[in-house]
């Protein structure tokens, strides 16, 4: 007969976090083909799917940065736990200050890491996901090089994803050592569900292990 110790509380007290920064193109071209609306719906799917998983909801930490308008980069709200993440309603218009947005993302990641370290909170390697349907209208080469350096130093994991035919995949690919991927059609929802599942996997990753993410074929357009 198995012996059970009565009345033991088993609660997860670990504070390990999986930071995620979404760097989202809100330039004028995102109004075409209803892209901005599909992006907003994708963010809603991300929020729902993260909250559906108790570990991802507790460990995921999300920040949204939009770029567009009059050379405008906006940090939308503050870092939030996935369980409290409310997707913003993004509007499209204006230019594509992608370089400044990625600079902001790198700074936010380092600032958040410092805050977590100070609080004694451990964390996984942060992910920055960049989504754009065009190419930068500001200076981007220096920050792109810094992104690659940060990746090489294991400071961050960067995913650059082009939306549609007009996305300059070659330029986007300069922001990550892995190059850029292309979104197949406008499968924003599939992309964000995949991202949520990746955060789930990262949140559960054991010490010393590597994380095997799901294949990207649900949303990525593979090269022909």
């Amino acid at each position: 007969m198995s012996t059970v110790i009565p009345d033991v509380a088993l609660i997860d007290n670990s504070d390990e976090r999986a930071p995620l920064v979404l760097v989202l193109d809100c330039s004028g071209s995102m109004q075409e083909e209803n892209k901005i609306q599909l992006l907003n719906e994708g963010l809603k799917a991300l929020a729902v799917d993260l909250k559906a998983d108790s570990i991802a909801a507790r460990c995921g930490r999300v920040l949204v940065i939009s770029f567009g308008g009059d050379a405008n980069v906006e940090v939308i709200g503050d870092w939030t736990d996935a369980m409290d993440f409310t997707p913003p309603e993004l509007l499209a218009g204006g230019l594509t200050p992608l370089g400044a947005a990625m600079r902001c993302a790198l700074d936010e990641v380092e600032s958040q890491k410092t805050q977590m370290r100070t609080a004694g909170v451990s964390y996984k390697r942060p992910i920055i996901m960049l989504l754009s349907d065009g190419e930068p209208t500001d200076e981007w080469r220096q920050v792109a090089a810094e992104c690659k350096t940060a990746e090489t130093a294991h400071k961050v994991n960067i995913m650059a994803i082009g939306i549609g035919d007009k996305a300059n995949k070659e330029t986007l690919g300069q922001f990550s050592n892995k190059g850029a991927l292309s979104l197949s059609g406008l499968k924003f929802k599939e992309l964000f569900i995949w991202l949520s599942r990746s955060i789930r996997a990262v949140s559960r990753a054991p010490a010393g292990g590597t994380v095997q993410l799901n294949p990207v074929d649900s949303w990525a357009q593979l090269s022909t």
Binding site: V4, P6, D7, I11, N13, S122, A207, G208
Partner: protein, 244 residues
């Protein structure tokens, strides 16, 4: 006098892959003292479990007669013992034509006597001495920049990561706990300042009134429970020593 209970269980990740658990523990209890060791073999190497078992057993045996109220001498003795065990593990690795790194494991240890003692620690996991009133001394995990990176006894620079924490003389009712990182999420409180009381208090009440075989089985059942496995997919080891 110390009463010791321990259990090691295989985490869901290793279980699903058909792999054995990588944790090991050992202890020696004498009339006046306690030596306890927990090791967590690295999942990324081929012989992590063997490394963990070797280090835990050899170090517990080697330190079984080590008691010294002088902190510096005690730490020096432990340092020498680890170096010796590490050299013997290197010989074992060489005899199998493998590198020492293939036997990588963390180390969480304790030497306690009536006058006090110390924790010694390389890598992740926790060690806690907590009084009946709740006052606690901890040895915290040391990770790399990220929580999935840590340090091992087998590392070339192991001396840079060997940490000592002095312990006060044990009082009746105090408990010492050593645990691998798979156990810590539910055994340690959120502030990382001691045991999670709703976890440890019922365990302490139960184990103090039972025998070692029943207590060890109960501890194993707890670590294998669906809820514990839901919280952590890693291997889990918990060694508890109660001072009576």
């Amino acid at each position: 006098m110390w009463r010791v209970f321990s259990a090691s269980t295989t985490g869901k990740r290793n279980f699903d892959e058909g792999a054995a658990g990588q944790d090991a523990s050992d202890c020696v209890v004498t009339e006046d003292g306690l030596v306890a060791i927990v090791c967590d073999g690295a999942g990324s190497v081929s012989e992590g479990r063997i490394g963990a078992e070797f280090v835990a057993r050899a170090l517990a045996e080697q330190l079984s007669n080590t008691q010294d109220d002088d902190t510096e001498r005690l730490e020096a003795s432990i340092h020498c013992a680890i170096e010796d065990v590490r050299n013997r593990l290197a010989d074992l690795a060489a005899s199998r034509e493998l590198s020492l790194e293939e036997f990588s494991c963390t180390l969480i240890g304790c030497v306690a006597s009536r006058g006090g003692g110390c924790f010694f620690h390389i890598g992740d996991g926790f060690a806690i001495q907590q009084s009946a009133a709740g006052d606690a001394v901890l040895s915290l995990p040391e990770n790399g920049e990220y929580s999935d990176e840590t340090y091992f006894v087998t590392d070339e620079k192991w001396k840079d990561h060997l940490r000592f924490t002095s312990l006060p003389a044990p009082e009746r009712g105090c408990v010492i706990g050593l645990m691998s990182d798979g156990t810590a999420p539910f055994a340690v409180n959120r502030a990382r300042s001691g045991f999670f009381r709703p976890f440890i208090d019922p365990i302490g009440a139960f184990l103090r009134e039972t025998t070692a075989p029943i207590g060890n089985e109960a501890l194993r059942n707890l670590l294998e429970s669906p809820r514990a496995c839901e919280i952590s997919r890693d291997d889990k080891t918990l060694l508890l020593a109660f001072y009576l």
